[in-house]
């Protein structure tokens, strides 16, 4: 476990030093800029739009970071040939994979936490400048703590994307890994359609393959609770646990598969 944590800490400190500050400044500027601009463009709804925009931006940035750092986690070590010295140390390949994964997940969690603080900061400002009569029309308070549930589920989604990127990077080039990870991410949002292909006129064989793929691939739709939370609809703890548990199992499968593939690679 100690070896895993050492690898994880290495990934985390590298990422923090290099990328997080720029990302967060961009996120905060985007949100603040949007809050002033959008209020001019739309008839009301600025609070809804800022909530939506903030959560979408957090998701998008998180996915991009997870993909583009995730695909380089193993490839970079191989390219720099540092993998040889690393594996010569008392560390197993599974510990290496797990450490790399945990390091990036920690980075993403730190990233998301600061984005959540920036998000609530902008919402607090909006709350402060908005007259009480206008606030009466809001479906939920600007500083609704339930919005944190969305950040939790975004975190779960990013954990899966990281595991996918890591898995593909164990056996393919960085470009192909990025393409495959993004493809699975896209399919994850379509997977409800895979289950009901017959309603689009597909033959029974294609429908069966679609249903098979539906169960094989992770379904990301239940993780998307932005709309429900912005409209003050309840998102139960049970739903969150079930959705996170399902994704957690896919993550575990991907990590085991990554270890299996990585174990077979010859670095001698």
């Amino acid at each position: 476990m100690r070896a895993v944590l050492i690898v994880a800490r290495g990934v985390f400190t590298d990422s923090i030093r290099d990328r997080i500050p720029y990302n967060l400044v961009f996120f905060a500027v985007l949100l603040m800029g949007a809050s002033f601009l959008l209020a001019q463009l739309t008839a009301g709804q600025d609070v809804k739009i800022i909530k939506d925009l903030g959560l979408s931006a957090a998701t998008l940035m998180g996915v991009l970071i997870a993909v583009f750092i995730g695909i380089g986690l193993v490839a970079k070590e191989v390219d720099r040939r540092s993998i040889y010295s690393l594996l010569s140390k008392p560390i197993t390949r599974s510990q290496f994979i797990l450490g790399k994964y945990l390091g990036l997940v920690l980075t993403l969690v730190a990233n998301l936490s600061v984005m959540a603080i920036a998000y609530y900061g902008v919402l607090a400002y909006l709350d402060w400048i908005t007259p009480a009569s206008v606030k009466l029309g809001w479906e939920a308070a600007a500083l609704d703590p339930a919005l944190l549930k969305a950040f939790v589920l975004i975190g779960v989604e990013l954990m899966l994307v990281t595991a996918l990127a890591l898995f593909f990077s164990t056996f393919s080039s960085t470009f192909l890994s990025a393409a495959l990870t993004l493809a699975i991410y896209v399919i994850g949002h379509f997977s409800e359609d895979l289950r009901t292909l017959e309603s689009f006129g597909a033959s029974s064989t294609v429908s069966m393959i679609g249903r098979g793929l539906y169960f094989m691939l992770p379904n990301l739709a239940p993780l998307n609770v932005t709309s429900a939370l912005v409209h003050a609809q309840p998102v139960s703890v049970q739903h969150m646990l079930l959705a996170s548990g399902s994704i957690g199992l896919y993550v575990a499968v991907l990590l085991v598969a990554s270890t299996l593939v990585f174990d077979r690679r010859d670095f001698k």
Binding site: K48, E139, V186, A221, H231, Q233
Partner: protein, 309 residues
Amino acid sequence: MPASASSSPSRRRALHWVAFTVLLVGAIGTQILIDGAFERYAPKQPVQWVRSPGVMRRLVLGFDSLAADIYWIRAVQYYGGTKLATAENKDYSMLFPLLDITTTLDPRFNIAYRFGAILLSEDYPNGPGRPDEAIQLLEKGIRESPGKWEYYLYAGFVHYWWRQDPRSAADWFLRASKLPGAPNWIGPLAASVLAEGGEHGAARTLWRQLAQSAQQEWMRRTARIRLLQLDAEVVIDQLQPLVNRFYDGAGRFPTGWNELVRAGLVRGIPLDPTGVAYTVDPVSGIVDVAPGSELFPLQRRTLGSGLEP
């Protein structure tokens, strides 16, 4: 030689800066030339590239809520742009599809149903004049959120004000009043709509409620204008018989209010609630608000036809 070697890096840096500036100015200049030389392609009418709400929902990859916001902004901008355009024939045909996509992407987009219904109902040229589409949009909202009394209220409002159908309006108001959370003035409103028919009382109640309760300034302002228009209509209803009486005496309609003042029919030039004089048409004798008034054009309603047995 050593001196030139030491100055060479700084000279190189300076050259780089000069090159950077010259190239940047060149790039900007080229862009200006392109703008002048080529007309940028823009469709004559705004185009909605994806018309199917279902396809759009799939294309946005889970960012449904944000995409709905973008479509809502687009719908509002489209409506405003068309309304303010100076074109003779205003085309609002994209308004309903835009609202349809907005509400498919975010089925709980409360304001898109309510505002959307008002925008769709507005008479041409201020809107598409499609209360049928407004009702369709509100019915979609009701399918998504059957307990939302506001949608029933707005549906009643559309029937009452734009479709001039008090019976259907009363029915919608009654359904709204039975829903949990509905304000207690809706029940009596249903009764007064049925009882008053063509009178202004129920309309005044509706607009007053909106002027007081709507959260958006745009909606409150619209409601305030409508209330002032109702006041103007009451005054016009009093002025019109005086103009007709002038006709009975003179055999022609007056050319202006001064003739009615001289004839002793009015005490002074009548002003509408915004302080602009009413107009009287010398040919038809019709009294109206002036085109320069904030209240122009009046949307005069002849309610009550729906109450006929």
